[in-house]
């Protein structure tokens, strides 16, 4: 590991605990509003009592409930059923490229918001009993209520400078969650999403943008410089191109939406000046329904 990378890792590690706390807090807010599968199945949560029927094994009888019923056996016997909790593998990825580490006028950095959302989602999923993995890391999927820190470490290890998810195998029928700004050319995005969809995998793509990227709040003669060696653009009069920029952004987003639709992915957009809870709720709901 080079010195620079080591330093960056340390810096990130130092930042993670507060981020984890924040993620837990966001996740707890959202957890109030979601429920299980509302089906009987294998799981830990109590679902219902039902009458004993022939064929039920005796050790599934809840004797305390049966005794309370006061009815003769076996018609007074009750079986305790738990809610069905299907463990699913969810692969999470968030964009950590240079273009994500940008903000304007005191807003939250896009990368920070993306990490927060990823970790909060991971926390929620872990509470829900799912297994989660960081896309791009070789670690095995993590489960259990206390796997969040391990996941955070795995997430750090998967950091890369590419603006798109890496070309790595994901478990079959896994769910993939991609969080980033997806400002790369649509062709590249389509290739990456298509590859994941062919695994096959379902998924969700969340575009995180700075409000300035939507509104282009500049004026006058400005030389714009990209963050990832993508050149410069001298705009002699920014006000006059604002509308066309908005159109271009809408077109780009429509393209992303179309790509996701074709691949069976969900798509959402989030601005860093909005609250992370709402984004997380929609993300989680989308995953739960899927």
């Amino acid at each position: 590991m080079t010195g620079a990378a080591s330093r960056r890792a340390e810096a990130l590690a130092a930042r993670l605990p507060p981020l984890l706390v924040a993620a837990e807090r966001v996740a707890a807010t959202v957890a109030q509003g979601v429920h299980g599968r509302r089906r009987v199945g294998q799981g830990d949560s109590f679902w219902q009592f039902r009458r004993f029927v022939a064929g039920d094994t005796v050790n599934r009888v809840d004797w305390r409930q049966s005794a309370k019923s006061g009815l003769p056996a076996p018609s007074g016997w009750f079986v305790r059923e738990t809610e069905w909790e299907a463990a699913q593998t969810v692969c999470l990825w968030r964009d950590t490229s240079a273009s994500m580490r940008w903000r304007r006028d005191g807003a939250t950095e896009k990368a920070e918001r993306a990490s927060l959302l990823t970790l909060a989602l991971a926390a929620l999923l872990l509470r829900g009993g799912e297994r989660i993995a960081a896309l791009g890391s070789d670690a095995r999927p993590i489960s259990g209520r206390f796997g969040l820190e391990r996941f955070a470490a795995a997430l750090d290890a998967s950091d890369g400078d590419a603006g798109l998810p890496p070309d790595m195998p994901v478990p079959r029928r896994a769910t993939v969650v991609l969080i980033g700004d997806f400002l790369a050319p649509l062709v590249d995005v389509q290739r990456a999403v298509g590859r994941l969809a062919a695994t096959p995998a379902r998924g969700y793509l969340l575009q995180v943008l700075d409000p300035a990227e939507a509104a282009l709040p500049y004026a006058g003669r400005i030389r714009f410089r990209g963050l990832e060696q993508d050149g410069e653009a001298l705009i002699p009069h920014v006000e006059s191109v604002r509308a066309e920029y908005a159109a271009a952004l809408t077109a780009h987003r429509a393209g992303l939406s179309a790509i996701c639709g074709a691949a069976g992915f969900g798509f959402g957009a989030h601005y860093t000046d909005r609250s992370p809870e709402s984004a997380l709720l929609s993300l989680y709901t989308a995953l739960g329904v899927a």
Binding site: L183, G220, R225, I235, H237, H252
Partner: protein, 887 residues
């Protein structure tokens, strides 16, 4: 308004081009990072609207450019001030002694005229009306380019002698040029040659006359001697209002020991004021100087005439004359020796040398050569003082008596007499002894009586209580004869035993005309002469020796410039005002255009302010351009720019008295006293900063009741005679200050050796102090902490010394035994004061560097006392201090 370089205005034609360039050149883009750059990349071709410079920024830059061009064109605001003619310009300048005040203004006026001549390409010539140092009479230069003439003009100096306009007029006779015009810068002093000079100037061409300085032309005359000091006199041109001139009496090393104000009433041309000085101080004087702009006329050099007064003593019986307690000359010797030169010899020898006063103790002069020689000496200006006695009473009248005497003597209070010994009557105001107090114990037992007559009271300077004269006098020729009607020893009276005797003799001695070395035709070479500004310098080449008896009648000239002549032992001074100078206002030249020197319309070049305005606009443009480029967005940049722009603003915070320790003085309202206090405290602060760890800033003037006193550790309060009583808020403020640990040094500025320097201050202070809570006082002693707070001191001198200094009695334990008030009259500020060159302008009295240093040390002790309180009074230090004191 005209333009010095009108062709620069052609650049205005380029402004439209500049307009176009500024319009099409957009400001530098500012750079921003932006992640969604790819979306913007596609837009570049679609949008090509050029960015325009905002119209107001364009206007700003155009105005700045216009201003810069106008400034370079050199506009000059001096309309309707052109010189007539287009030929050579003759610049005639009076550079006699009267032109020295305001010489810079004259040069400025001449330079302005040269500027104008240079702009129109005229040549110029220069004529200075006073003879130069080599004695060459004034001659005009040939016309020459202005640049060459400027160096000659710059080399021109005011001369210490008057202008010679007759010679200048003569020199102008052949000077005729076509279309010439004349500018005459006059000193306003009439002189016999003015008429012809005016005609000669008018003959050259149209005359513009610049006259005169508003400051009156003044000449200080040689002072008159008086018993109490000198009488400074001055002559000036009559003015319609009363004016005041300050005269400083200075010693050889440049210190000022006294100052007097001469008030010249409206319309009068002379004024005088007496400068009271003890004779010891008077003898150190070398010059009197008029305050104000220096010139040769504002300085009077003093020579031996104002100082040396040798006294000759002669007794009838030379052998017993000096017998202790009985001899005729015994008391005279003791009374006179401390104050001057006293000689005892026979008459012939005495008269053969310079003598101001001759005292004959009971000597009768028989007919003969001796009496004739003595009579001649008196008639030439000598002062003869005679004392009566048995010999005089028994001799015939010798003609050298002020009043006719009755033969014999009169005994008062003897064994066979009814009457008692008589005392002295108070002196009449006309008597030179006026003001001396008559002690009761002085009794006259015997006296010689004068013949009663109608004129006797006029001749009487001192009389007994019964009206009989004791001292009579009469003028004789240029001199005077004074007779004491009693003996010079204690035989006839006990007057010689009293201090009054000494005072009377000193007053009489100072009445005499000083002795000015030889008054014969010996030639005295010039040693040091005054220049046009009244500064002593080596004599000019043309200066020649002057006969010793010609000093009173020789007017100053290049051959005899004012200054000091002769060998060191018999130096004589030649002064500008010695020959009875008369100042009359010169008329103006008929037909001349008149301008005033003071409010001549000065040329106002408008270029610099225009350029400054252009620079300010360009700075504003810079700020705006930075703002447009987005470099002003960070607050730090904005703050830095404001700081850069405001760098020249004075740092007001540094003047906050609460931030730095500093001394204060209570403003008395008397400008001179306040100046001394300020300068004194500044010098003391300097001294304290050098010698101790304390750091004091420049002192402040304090107005009790208005200024916050709490930040000053020590206040100096010089008392001015006749100061008004404290108002209630002032008294409260000062009492509060003293009650809460402040220290006030109160200075009545006239005690001990300086008694009489500041009359009335003690009464004033007594009156003022009624409203102050002053604790019980005791004289400062070496026991007091103040005597060892930094230096070990045995006395506490300032400019004066001798009288005790008072502080709070030590037993008082309030306020940690720190005295809230120190009271004395040693004029400390004057001792501390130093001028810009670090010299001390006020002589300490009785004098000596040690007294000055002790004064500074007292100041340091005082400051340290104010800053540390009774720290040094701590018993811990007593053994060490005792050891150092050697006790």
């Amino acid at each position: 308004m005209i333009f010095a370089t009108p062709w620069a205005l052609a650049a205005l034609a380029g402004l439209p081009l500049l307009w176009w360039l500024l319009r099409v050149t957009p400001p530098n883009p500012r750079t921003e990072t932006f992640p969604a750059l790819r979306l913007l990349l596609g837009l570049r071709a679609a949008e090509e609207t050029p960015a325009h410079t905002p119209w107001w920024l364009l206007a700003l830059r155009m105005i700045a450019a216009t201003l810069a061009i106008l400034a370079l064109a050199g506009p000059v605001l001096d309309a309707n001030n052109d010189l007539p003619g287009d030929g050579p310009l003759l610049l005639a300048i009076d550079n006699g002694w009267a032109s020295a005040p305001g010489w810079q203004k004259r040069l400025q006026a001449a330079n302005n005229a040269l500027d104008r001549a240079a702009r129109t390409g005229r040549e110029a010539a220069l004529l200075a009306t006073a003879p130069d140092e080599a004695g060459a009479l004034p001659t005009p230069t040939p016309p020459m380019p202005v640049a060459d003439l400027r160096t000659r003009l710059a080399a021109l100096r005011p001369m210490p002698w008057p202008a010679n306009r007759a010679a200048a007029a003569e020199a102008l006779n052949g000077w005729q040029r076509p279309n010439a015009s004349t500018l005459y810068i006059a000193d306003g002093l009439a002189d016999p040659g003015f008429e012809t000079f005016a005609r000669a100037l008018t003959a050259v061409g149209p005359v513009t006359e610049i006259c005169c300085d508003s400051a009156p032309v003044r000449v200080l005359l040689p002072p008159a001697s008086e018993p109490e000091g000198l009488v400074a006199r001055l002559v000036q041109m009559p003015l319609p209002v009363a004016t005041t001139a300050g005269v400083l009496a200075q010693t050889g090393d440049g210190r000022t020991v006294a100052r007097a104000d001469i008030v010249i009433p409206a319309g009068a041309s002379t004024g005088q004021a007496s400068i009271a000085l003890p004779s010891e101080l008077r003898n150190t004087l070398t010059r009197l100087v008029l305050e104000g702009p220096p010139s040769a006329g504002s300085v009077v050099l003093l020579d031996e005439r104002w100082r040396r007064r040798p006294v000759g003593l002669l007794a009838a019986d030379q052998t017993s004359a000096d017998a202790p307690f009985a001899g005729d000359l015994y008391y005279l010797h003791r009374a006179l020796a401390p104050y001057g030169e006293v000689r005892t010899d026979d008459l012939q020898t005495l008269l053969s040398r310079d003598l101001a006063v001759l005292i004959l103790a009971d000597v009768s002069l028989p007919d003969g050569a001796e009496r004739d020689a003595l009579t001649k000496w008196v008639e030439k200006g000598g002062l003869l003082i005679r004392f009566a006695g048995p010999r005089l009473a028994g001799a015939e009248s010798d003609g050298l008596h002020p009043v006719p005497l009755l033969g014999g003597d009169r005994q008062l209070g003897g064994a066979l007499s009814w009457n008692a010994p008589a005392g002295l009557a108070p002196f009449q105001p006309t008597s030179p002894f006026a003001g001396l107090t008559v002690p009761d114990e002085v009794k006259i037992n015997r006296q010689m009586l004068a013949e009663p007559g109608a004129s006797l009271p006029e001749h009487t300077w001192a009389a007994l209580t019964d009206g009989t004269p004791l001292v009579t006098q009469a003028a004789m020729g240029a001199g005077r004869v004074v007779l004491f009607h009693a003996t010079a020893n204690a035989d006839w009276s006990n007057l010689p035993l009293s201090g009054l005797f000494v005072d009377m003799l000193r007053r009489l001695t100072s009445l005499s005309v000083g002795v000015a070395g030889r008054a014969d035709s010996t030639l005295l070479a010039p040693v040091e002469t005054l220049d046009g500004y009244g500064t002593l310098s080596p004599p000019p080449r043309a200066a020649t020796a002057l006969a010793a008896d010609a000093f009173a009648v020789t007017p100053v000239s290049p051959a005899h410039p004012p200054g000091l002549y002769g060998p060191e032992s018999g130096r004589q001074a030649l002064n500008l005002g010695a020959t009875g100078i008369e100042l009359t206002q010169a008329p103006t030249i008929p037909g001349a255009r008149l301008q005033s020197l003071t409010d001549a319309p000065a040329e106002k070049p408008l270029g610099p302010p225009l350029l400054a305005a252009a620079i300010v606009l360009l700075l504003a443009d810079w700020v705006v351009a930075m703002g447009l480029r987005g470099l002003l967005r960070s607050r730090a940049t904005a703050v830095a720019m404001v700081l850069i722009l405001a760098m020249s603003a004075p740092a007001w915070a540094a003047d906050n008295p609460a931030l730095t320790t500093r001394l204060g003085y209570i403003a008395s309202g008397d400008e001179q006293v306040d100046d001394i206090a300020k300068s004194g405290l500044a010098a003391l602060s300097d001294f304290v900063n050098r010698r101790t760890a304390a750091t004091l800033a420049a002192p402040d003037a304090i107005e009790p009741g208005r200024t916050d006193l709490s930040v000053y550790p020590l206040l100096y309060w010089p008392i001015v005679a006749g100061a008004p009583a404290l108002t209630a808020p002032q008294a409260t403020a000062l009492n509060d200050y003293m009650g809460r640990g402040g220290i006030i040094l109160i200075d009545t500025r006239g005690s001990g050796s300086g008694t009489g320097f500041a009359p009335g201050t003690e009464e004033t202070f007594r009156r003022i102090a009624q409203s102050l809570t002053i604790p019980v006082l005791a004289p400062l002693s070496t026991e007091h902490v103040l005597s060892r707070s930094f230096y070990l001191l045995h006395d506490f001198p300032g400019r004066f010394t001798g009288d005790p200094v008072w502080a709070q009695r030590d037993q008082d334990r309030a306020n940690d035994s720190v005295s809230p008030v120190i009271i004395g009259g040693n004029d400390w500020a004057a001792a501390w004061a130093a001028d810009a060159a670090g010299r001390n302008p006020y002589a300490v009295i009785p004098g000596g560097q040690r007294q000055r240093i002790m004064a500074y040390r007292f100041g340091v002790n005082l400051v340290v006392y104010a800053l540390t309180g009774n720290y040094k009074g701590d018993q811990v230090h007593v053994p060490a201090i005792l050891q150092r004191l050697g006790q």
